[in-house]
């Protein structure tokens, strides 16, 4: 539990519906903001988000146990990811914020979902006995966010939370909530 968000593990019918809703909204946004000219989103923040959501939706169906997400108080899925358990760390293959969090002035938009999902994944890593250790691949535009969270780039080009940096992140989150 994350106060503002509920953690979701695994794909069920509700998650399938949530992801279908994300996809339908993306189609609506393309019409509203891009005149249905799909080529205008290629290589943009929104385009990257769509491509990652497409992967998440496919993985959530093919491997339901790999899905993770956070829902807000209204029950709306606000961020989602796909994870795999490695021998001593949690591998985060994909992370996406809801499409309305990308575009300006959307009524469903909510800050904090990506951070909340990362917090839950660190806690899951702790529960698994991995000491909070997790790794992900950060696309260039995402690096600043993950660096600000406290992840560090590895020699292989991945980004990781070590037990110490994961603990520091969780402590900051606790401090933030106590304010």
């Amino acid at each position: 539990m994350n106060f503002l968000f509920d953690f979701v593990k695994g794909t069920d019918a509700r998650v399938q519906q949530d992801l279908a809703n994300w996809e339908n909204k993306i189609d609506d946004y393309l019409s509203e903001f891009f005149d249905n000219e799909v080529e205008r989103v290629y290589g943009t923040r929104f385009g990257d988000n769509i491509a990652i959501i497409s992967d998440i939706a496919e993985n959530a169906t093919a491997e339901p146990e790999t899905f993770r997400g956070v829902r807000d108080a209204e029950g709306r899925l606000q961020a989602a990811g796909i994870v795999h358990l490695q021998s001593d760390y949690l591998e985060v293959d994909l992370i996406a914020t809801a499409p309305w969090n990308i575009l300006p002035n959307q009524p469903e938009s909510l800050k904090g979902a990506g951070t909340a999902l990362m917090e839950e994944l660190v806690k899951e890593s702790l529960d698994l006995g991995f000491g909070g250790r997790l790794k992900l691949y950060a696309i260039p535009r995402a690096r600043q966010f993950y660096e600000k969270l406290g992840l560090e780039e590895t020699a292989q080009g991945d980004w990781e939370f070590s037990p110490s940096t994961a603990e520091r992140f969780l402590q900051r989150q606790q401090r933030r909530r106590r304010r």
Partner: protein, 56 residues
């Protein structure tokens, strides 16, 4: 490390949160593949959405 963290003030925590929230729109990440693969992923998603809307 806890000692080190205690030295961070509430204001610094507040600033960290604000900066985090500013960057959070870019939290979506994963291996995107080539430009062609990205386009295929976007097209697949849109095809699913349009088929769903047609059914409704």
């Amino acid at each position: 490390m806890s000692e080190k963290l205690k030295k961070i003030t509430d204001e610094e925590i507040a600033q960290w949160q604000e900066e985090l929230y500013e960057l959070e729109r870019d939290c979506s990440t994963g291996k995107l593949g080539t430009t062609k693969e990205q386009k295929q992923k976007i097209d697949s998603l849109l095809a699913r959405a349009k088929a769903r809307k047609k059914e409704d």
